[in-house]
Each structure stands twice: as C-alpha cells, then as structure tokens.
C-alpha cells in the first residue's frame, strides 16, 4: 500500500534537499529518498565555491537568483552554512588571457549582466596580494564567496524535515512507475505515491531518466580536491585561473583547498573513487608557481566526489518532455553547488505554479528530446 504524499524527490544532494525544502515552504508535503545520506557525494565534498563568475550564459539567471538566497541563507536555514563572501577572482596569467577576459565581460554587459568586472594588475594585486607578479589582471565577481558544502547540504535537509518533509536516508529509490495519475516509488520496505516526481539523483539521475525513456548524454565524473595543513592567512577571495585548471581557497582556519577539475576514476557502484596523483601533481605545480608562499605547506588529504557531467556542461533542469508530473534536476557538471538554493526555489515554482520568472528555458531536457507531451 503506497503512502500518498505531494511530491517524491529522489536524491539527497543539495539540489534534492533544496527542492524538498522549497516545496515545504510552498505548503506541500514531500518525501526525500536518498540511497546513502544527504551530502554523501558531490554535494557534501565539493569545493564549496559560491560562484557566479565564469558561468555558462544559459545558467546565469539561475545563478543570480541563487546568489540572492545565499546572501540570506541564515534566514532560510537557521544555519550560516559557513558562507562568506570575499569575492571570486579569475586570474589571467598573460595578456592573451586578459584579452579573452575583456571580451567575456563585454559580452555579459551586452546581455545585461553586470556581476563580472574586468580588473587590472593593480586591482588584482589588491585583492590577491600573494599572486605571482607576472599576472596582468583578470575578472572579479565581488558578491561571490564560499560555504561549507556538507554543512550546507545537511542544513537544507534538516530544515526541510523540520517543515514537515519526510526524509528517508540509507534506502535507494526503486521500482519507479506511473499509474492512475500518480508516480509510485519504493524505498526499502515502504512505497510512496505522488503526482510529482523530481529526479535529482546526481550521478545516478541519468539512469533514472533513461529508464523513463529520456536518455541524455551524461557521464559520471569525480573531480579531485586536496587540502593543506594550516598556513598563515594570506588570501581572502576564491581564485580560479583563466587558462589552467585550478581553483584555490583559504579557509578561516588557515587550511587551503586546491581544486580545479582534474578527475579521479569513479567506481560508481561501489561509491568509490581512485585518485590520480599525477594529475593532482599538476595542480600542485600550478600552485607552486603561482603562490610561492604555499611551497612548504603540506597536503593532508585528497578526495573526489561522484557527480554527473553533461556533454554540453549545463544541467538538465525543468519538466520532463515525455511524462506529466516528472521533473529533472541533475547534470550540474562540476558547478552545481552554488545553484542549489536557487534551483530548489525555481523548481518549487515550476511544480507549484507551473512557471517561474527566472529564465531556465535553455536548460530543459527538451534540448535532447522534442516534447511529446
């Protein structure tokens, strides 16, 4: 006998948790089903970048919407998520890269977006004093920052539960089927039924979509990160590079997180990843060259989280093109964390109101499948 709820959300990453919370705020009673625990994979172990900077244009409106929520995250979640806003800086390492930056900012300005700002060498040095002297400038997005990803994802789950969501962790969603106008999903010994189903299963979402007749070009990836021992405070903003793969962030406690998108080998069925130290060595070398102050720091841990990457690097977000009541929210392609709060809010609007003021139409699954609805 299925238990009737208003919506079933599959996946306890930041997206599933945020959507569940926003459905609660809209007065619905959703159930969230997570096979491990909330934040177990990419949402809990990513770099925590809260970044509007250097985004693909189709997802900028969602990112801006999300930023507004981040800035009031404590009001929403009763938890500060360790969010801090010291800006994010994209560093150009030479004049050619700076030219690309200049063109990008001009393009955004022409589209009406003003969050990215071109900076010269002097402003770059003011924001990031430790950066190598040879860098001629870059781009800053001043409202950006970073948060603690596991703390944030857990805070969304907790608040959703407090507002009446049912949360099932440690049980996989299975036997997904549609009958008599309702989606039915099994979770362990229980079964739930609802008119709405949200597929927010991250690296596992592609299979759910394919099983429901909407295959998409998605692969499972595991971007690697490493963290150092504590070093004296020397940098406030998050730094990313224009040319090389690197992101760089120092926490309040002095530890420094080094990322940038080098990939580990994922073993999705075992929830495991095997690190590629030769690629991490490339990141270490980049830091070595750019921030001499870091040379004697020690690497204390490296890891990788499993997530979904789309062929076109932008997420699948919005209603199914084949099934009524089915919504997709996955494939955030290494940059989904910042989008989580906004995406949950917009998804709840799509579900409850049937539409949203935030432009997300370029992200739909119909870019792969013409609508048959």
């Amino acid at each position: 006998m299925s238990k009737n709820v208003d919506a079933i959300v599959i996946g306890g990453g930041i997206h599933g948790c945020s959507t569940t919370l926003h459905l609660c705020l809209a007065g619905l009673k959703p159930v969230l089903i997570e096979k491990d625990y909330a934040g177990r994979h990419a949402s809990g172990v990513n770099a925590g970048g809260v970044r509007q900077l250097a985004r693909h244009i189709p997802e900028i409106p969602l990112s801006i919407r999300s930023m507004g929520i981040w800035e009031k995250i404590t009001d929403l979640l009763d938890d500060d998520c360790s969010f801090e806003s010291h800006g994010q800086v994209l560093v150009a390492e030479d004049e050619d890269e700076l030219a690309v930056c200049r063109a990008r900012v001009a393009e955004l300005n022409a589209l009406g977006f003003t969050h990215e700002e071109l900076i010269d060498a002097a402003e770059l040095r003011r924001l990031v004093p430790a950066v190598a002297e040879t860098c001629p400038g870059g781009v800053v997005s001043r409202r950006d920052g970073a948060a603690n990803p596991a703390q944030t994802t857990t805070a969304f789950r907790r608040k959703a539960e407090r507002l009446g969501a049912t949360v099932r962790e440690g049980v996989a969603a299975g036997n997904i089927r549609y009958s008599d106008g309702l989606w039915h999903v099994d979770a362990g010994s229980e079964s739930f039924a609802a008119p709405v189903l949200v597929n927010a299963a991250g690296a596992w979402a592609g299979k759910i979509a394919a099983d429901l007749g909407e295959p998409v070009p998605v692969e499972t990836v595991a971007p690697m990160l490493m963290i150092t021992s504590r070093v004296p405070h020397f940098i406030d903003p998050v730094v990313i590079l224009r040319g090389r793969k690197l992101s760089f962030k120092q926490f309040k406690n002095g530890t420094v997180l080094i990322g940038g998108g080098h990939l580990a080998k994922p073993y999705q069925d075992r929830n495991e990843t095997v690190l590629d130290w030769k690629s991490l060595a490339t990141s270490a070398q980049t830091v070595f060259e750019l921030f001499p102050v870091m040379r004697s720091a020690t690497i204390v841990r490296a890891w990788a989280g499993i997530e979904a990457k789309m062929k076109d690097d932008i997420p699948v977000f919005g209603p199914s093109s084949r099934h009524r009541g089915l919504y997709h929210q996955f494939g955030f392609s290494l940059h989904g964390f910042q989008l989580g709060p906004g995406a949950g809010a917009v998804m709840a609007e799509l579900i409850v109101n049937g539409g949203t003021q935030t432009r997300v139409s370029d992200l739909g699954i119909d870019r792969f499948h013409p609508s048959t609805l």
Binding site: D96, S279, A281, I299
Partner: protein, 473 residues
C-alpha cells in the same frame, strides 16, 4: 643518501619492516619473486624490534630475549635478494596496486602484482581529562625513546592503564635505571572472571610464564594500584598531578610524567584508504580488516599481515607474514613454492600455536568503557580540539556518523587523519545513538595517509595528458 626504488614494477611490495614485514619480504625474495620492502623507520624492526640493528642498549637482558629474535629476522632478510628502502613513507595505495612513496623528500610511484601490508598497530586512544597536557605521553612513545636512544624517565613518573605492553615497558624502564613512582592498573575486576574460561589456553602459551615473571619483577620495585576506575591528569599548561579513584577512594599525586597505555589496535589508515573492507571487532574493540586464511583482503592482490590484520602479537605476526608471502608465491610463481622451507600446513599450525592465549589476553585487557568513551569537556579530537560534549551536540542536531560529524566539527580532518580520535568518535556516537559501532562506521580515509609537502607533490612526474592540458590555447 636517498635511494629511489630501482624498478617501477615488482612482483611483491611489502610495506612495513616489523616482524610481519621482515618475514614476508624474506620469504617472497627467497622464492625468487622481485620484492621491495618499504619502511618508514631508519632501520628494520618496526615497534617491537625497534632499532634492532642500531640500539645503544647492548646488555641483552635489559630489552629481553624476545626483542633479540628480531636480529634473526633481519639476518634472513639481508641474506635474501629483497630490495629494502628505509625512511620510505608510503602515502598512497589504491585498488589498482599503485603505490606512492616518499623517500628523502621526493616521491616515487611503483606498481606491484601483490602488496603485503605489514603496517602494524597503533596505541588505542586513552581520552581522559587532561590527556592532551604536555607531560602526558603514550607508553609507546616512551618505549621508542628507550629503544632507539636508551632514554628513560627520571622525574616523578606514573604509568597508567593496562595490557602486556604496559608491563613490558615498566620492566624495561626499571632495568635501564629509570624511575617509576606508581603504576595505576585500570584492568576491570570483572575481566578476570570473564577471562577465566580462556585461562587454560593461556597457561599453556609462551606468554604466561614470561608475563608473570615480568609482572613480579615490576611489582617488587614499584607500588601498583589495581582496580583504578577513574583517572584524570591536571596542571596549568603542563602536567602537575594525576588523580585517580581505586576501591572508591580518590587520591591525587604530584606527577611530572604520565605514561598512558591501554593496548594497541590495528593501524588501518593505509588499508582503509585502499578501499579494504573492515569490520568492528567487538572483543578487541577496534576495526579489523576482513581477511581470508592467507591474509587476503577484499581488494584483489592486497594481503595484510601482522597486527594490522588484527592484534596477535609479534610471534603471530612473523607467521602471518610468512603465510601472506607464501600465498603470493603460490599465486605468482607456483613452481617456486616448493623451494620454501615451510609448507602452508606447517605455517598454519605455527600460527595456531602463536595465537594461543590471545583470547585470554583480549578478554582480560578489554578496556573499560569510561576510559574509551569520554564525556563532558574531555578532548576527543586533538587536532581540532573537539570535546565529547561537542560531538554529542552534533549528534543532537543530526550528525549520524563520523563522516557527517566532519561537517559540523572537522573531527578527523586534521593531520592525524583520525588516528587519535577515530575509535573514540565511533564508540561515542554509537553510544549516543543506541547503535553498534559497526552501524555507525568509521571515517572514510584518504591519501595521503601521511602528509607530503606541496613542493614534493609538484615535483612528481606528470602524466602526458596533463602536460598537454596545460598548454595554453
């Protein structure tokens, strides 16, 4: 002088040159397999035979006859063709049997057909109030100084805890002229009765006579307080006194040095980081790898021998090392197996003999809950200064296991990677949530299992794809 491994591929790589590792490497090399032994210390021996080739303690009976057994193991290793590298810290091992090792500040990568982990044990955390004060150290650290530099305490010294190693250390300190003011024995009285059914096996084991004579030797010279049920260290920035309760009576004694010890547990970090399955051992109260009779783990090609496979002591470690190596020979060069002196059947019966009495010791020296599971302001995680109360507060707002706790409190995320807090966190959370430690689980451990500098990592040879990827375009 820094010596990098001579080759990139080996039949067998043995990690750790304690009793198990020495025996495994010698056996593997003797059968003609290309064998590399990597060890973190400056010489062979591990902890039990520490400094066996270099100790300044030459009076043989001061360290005991068991110690000098190590010299024979070193001898047979040196007679073999095994390549041995000391001061070699293995910081990564994965399920593809890729090994990253730091030697003299430079990292190298080697690949093995078989890996034998012989990484031994660690002392169990002993989280009492004040255990982080300067002046409080582990018995193992004191023994390291004793064996490698003949250093013994000369201030007011208290040894607290329980277990065979505690008595061994006390005897060694006294023989070298060191000072011990009092021994506080925390063995629970009930354990003597619980251990009784296993006493016969123990009486017929080699441990019995040796253990008894050692305890007699120590008790003749030092006041021993048994049945200690509470223990705390205090002082203002430095240990000043130790207070304890025994037989319902509290006493406080001024102390300069407190040595704590309540047994050893498998050193799981490298094995867990390689993805090897572990289970909670409810008798030894620790995580032990899931192994078959030859020491093979859940990851194909990786075997574990010695105390890292579950605490069994030095004699068992030697045999387990031989068994794991023999299994590697059987798998890689079955024709050479006949060359080896002992058959697998002989080795297995040797192991049964070496393990006799272990059940008695494990039962007798099972540490009491109040010394494993702290409360209130007692520090649990030293790296991040997290107290027992902090952990319980996090459980109250939804942390369900050690990995979720990281998000709230950063426990286990410091340089020690949980070595000093992991067991405490698991047991504390299990108690708070009414679950078993097996259900609560452990930190997901990750390389580098020992920190390496950014400069060292930056100097590692890069893969071709990455070199191409950084070309600007």
């Amino acid at each position: 002088m820094t010596v990098a491994p001579k080759r990139e591929d080996y039949d067998v790589v043995v990690i750790g040159a304690g009793p198990a590792g020495l025996a495994a490497a010698a056996t593997s090399a003797e059968a003609g397999l290309s064998t590399l032994l990597l060890d973190e210390n400056i010489g062979p021996g591990g902890q039990v035979f520490r400094a066996i080739a270099s100790t300044p303690v030459t009076e043989r009976n001061q360290l005991g006859a068991d110690y000098w057994v190590g010299a024979d193991l070193v001898q047979s290793l040196r007679a073999s063709n095994a390549e041995v590298i000391h001061r070699a810290t293995v910081w990564s091992l994965d399920r593809n049997l890729d090994i990253a090792v730091s030697i003299g500040g430079a990292s190298a990568f080697v690949k093995a057909k078989r890996v034998i982990l012989a990484i031994g044990a660690l002392e169990r955390p002993f989280p009492i109030p004040g255990w982080t004060l300067p002046g409080v150290m582990t018995a193992g650290a004191a023994q390291t100084m004793l064996k490698s530099s003949a250093l013994v305490p000369d201030g007011r010294t208290v040894i607290a805890g329980q277990g065979p190693l505690l008595w061994l250390l006390a005897a060694q300190i006294l023989r070298l002229g060191g000072r011990i003011d009092r021994i506080l024995d925390t063995t629970e009285r009930g354990n003597y009765f619980a251990a009784l059914p296993h006493a016969f096996a123990f009486l017929t084991s080699p441990y019995f006579a040796k253990g008894l004579s050692m305890m007699r030797e120590v008790k003749a010279k030092v006041q021993v307080v048994s049945g200690v049920t509470e223990l705390a260290a205090s002082g203002d920035g430095q240990l000043a006194s130790v207070s304890y309760v025994a037989g319902g009576k509290r006493e406080t004694i001024p102390t300069d040095l407190l040595l704590l010890h309540q047994g050893v547990v498998p050193n799981v970090n490298l094995a867990m980081a390689a993805g090897i399955e572990h289970r909670w051992d409810d008798l030894q109260l620790c995580w032990s790898p899931v192994l078959d009779a030859s020491g093979n783990s859940s990851v194909a090609g990786i075997a574990i021998a010695g105390d890292g496979a579950g605490i069994g002591g030095a004699n068992a470690a030697v045999v387990r090392g031989r068994i794991a190596a023999r299994a590697a020979v059987d798998a890689l060069a079955p024709a050479s197996a006949a060359k080896l002196p002992a058959t697998m059947a002989t080795l297995r019966s040797d192991l049964a003999k070496a393990e006799r009495g272990r059940l008695f010791l494990d039962t007798l020296f099972r540490p009491a809950p109040q010394f494993r599971i702290p409360s209130g302001d007692t520090i649990v995680c030293r790296c991040e200064e997290v107290t027992a109360k902090d952990v319980l507060d996090s459980v109250a707002i939804g942390a369900t296991g050690p990995n979720q706790l990281k998000a709230y409190r950063r426990t286990g995320m410091g340089p020690c990677q949980g070595r000093l807090c992991g067991l405490t966190v698991t047991e504390l959370m299990a108690q708070a949530r009414g679950k078993t430690p097996q259900e609560i689980g452990y930190y997901r451990l990750r390389a580098p299992v020992k920190p390496i500098t950014l400069a060292e990592l930056a100097a590692v040879p890069k893969s071709e794809a990455d070199v191409k990827a950084v070309v600007r375009g």
